[in-house]
């Protein structure tokens, strides 16, 4: 028993998944996108503010060729995260716009709704 048990769902904080697309002058490497977003959030909201949003970048869901990704955050701080993404102007020497495609309650729904992914469980 080296880990605490999972909290019951009533005690867990509610989360939201923000689907975003990075529009850029030229193609940007994954790591640069992740660092850029962290940097922008920390600058705009500060260390404490970012901590309160429960911000987390889901690197495994990032689609490199379309520059689409997901961010997890607390459901009360979606607006703060949106604002933090909006003030991003550059990643490296490329000008960027981080466009929020939408907000969802689960990863699966976010990918289905905003990434146009085929539902593998739908055989009809």
């Amino acid at each position: 028993m080296d880990r605490p048990n999972h909290l019951p769902s009533t005690l867990r904080s509610k989360k939201r998944y923000i689907a975003f697309q990075v529009m850029s002058e030229k193609k940007i490497l994954n790591d640069d996108v992740f660092n850029g977003i962290w940097h922008s959030l920390l600058n705009f909201l500060g260390e404490y503010g970012t901590a309160k949003t429960g911000f987390w970048l889901l690197k495994t869901t990032y689609i490199e060729d379309k520059q689409l990704g997901l961010i997890k955050c607390n459901h009360n701080y979606v607006e703060e995260v949106r604002a933090g993404l909006a003030v991003m102007q550059r990643i490296g020497d490329s000008r960027v716009i981080v466009k929020v495609l939408g907000v969802s309650g689960t990863i699966k729904a976010a990918q289905k709704k905003f990434f146009d992914e085929v539902d593998l469980f739908n055989f009809t």
Partner: protein
């Protein structure tokens, strides 16, 4: 809901992109209308802008505007008289207190842009805000100004904007959010612009109205005024 960005600069002014490029990008971002407000140089420049706009085919409504940048109140009044009948949106670049006050006093002005620009205070007091309310002058939150600043500069700017938003909310003065974009890369999705105002403490409905209702009222009011339907405040042809 219809969203409007009433201050974008094109390549005819200090901007980097043509009106066609701006319109295409605005359409992609989901705007219903935009106003091209280049820094005022001459009436000839406005005529050229009108010509350029007339050639563009797009679903986005494009309005001709002007941004007046001056340090003299007399010159400001003179330019406003010259351009008011020519353009849909008159924006006055604020910063100087006497200019801020002169803009709030003038019912021919639509938007007072960045009243806190280059100042250590917010640039507005109760007198200015009451005048702005009386004359229906919207106080602008300029997005590019926030995005371009960094750390200490941005922090103090946000503090000054926060004060202005609190005062406009308390005194019921119209507040508007504009991108102030000089390039398409300075433009943002309407919902992102709303989130910027929302984090200042405005309720979500009021934040939405900063990008939809307030600019829409400015446009509709000026359409009536330019067509001769509205003669002055409270006097309209039946």
């Amino acid at each position: 809901m219809r969203f409007y960005d009433l201050e974008i600069q094109s390549s005819l002014g200090e901007g980097a992109n043509s009106v066609a490029e701006i319109a295409r990008f605005a359409e992609h971002l989901g705007y219903s209308g935009i106003a091209i407000c280049n820094k005022y140089e001459s009436l000839e420049q406005i005529r050229k802008l009108k010509e350029e706009i007339s050639k563009i085919e797009t679903t986005v409504e494009i309005y001709v505007g002007v941004k007046i940048k001056t340090e003299s109140v007399e010159e400001l009044r003179k330019i406003i008289e010259q351009v008011r009948e020519e353009v849909m949106v008159v924006v006055v670049a604020g910063g100087n207190y006497s200019i801020n006050r002169a803009a709030c006093e003038n019912p021919k002005v639509d938007i007072l842009a960045h009243p806190e620009f280059g100042r250590i205070d917010s640039g507005l007091d109760e007198v200015c805000l009451n005048l702005a309310k009386k004359n229906n002058v919207a106080i602008q939150i300029n997005f590019t100004e926030i995005a371009e600043k960094y750390r200490r500069g941005r922090s103090s700017l946000l503090g000054r904007m926060d004060r202005n938003i609190r005062l406009t909310r308390e005194l019921s003065v119209p507040t508007i959010v504009c991108s102030g974009a000089k390039s398409i890369w300075d433009m943002r999705d309407p919902r992102e612009m709303i989130s910027i105002v929302n984090i200042f403490g405005l309720e979500i409905e009021k934040s939405f109205s900063c990008l939809s209702m307030v600019p829409q009222n400015i446009i509709e009011d000026n359409k009536k005024r330019l067509s001769g339907e509205k003669i002055t405040e409270g006097v309209e042809l039946g």
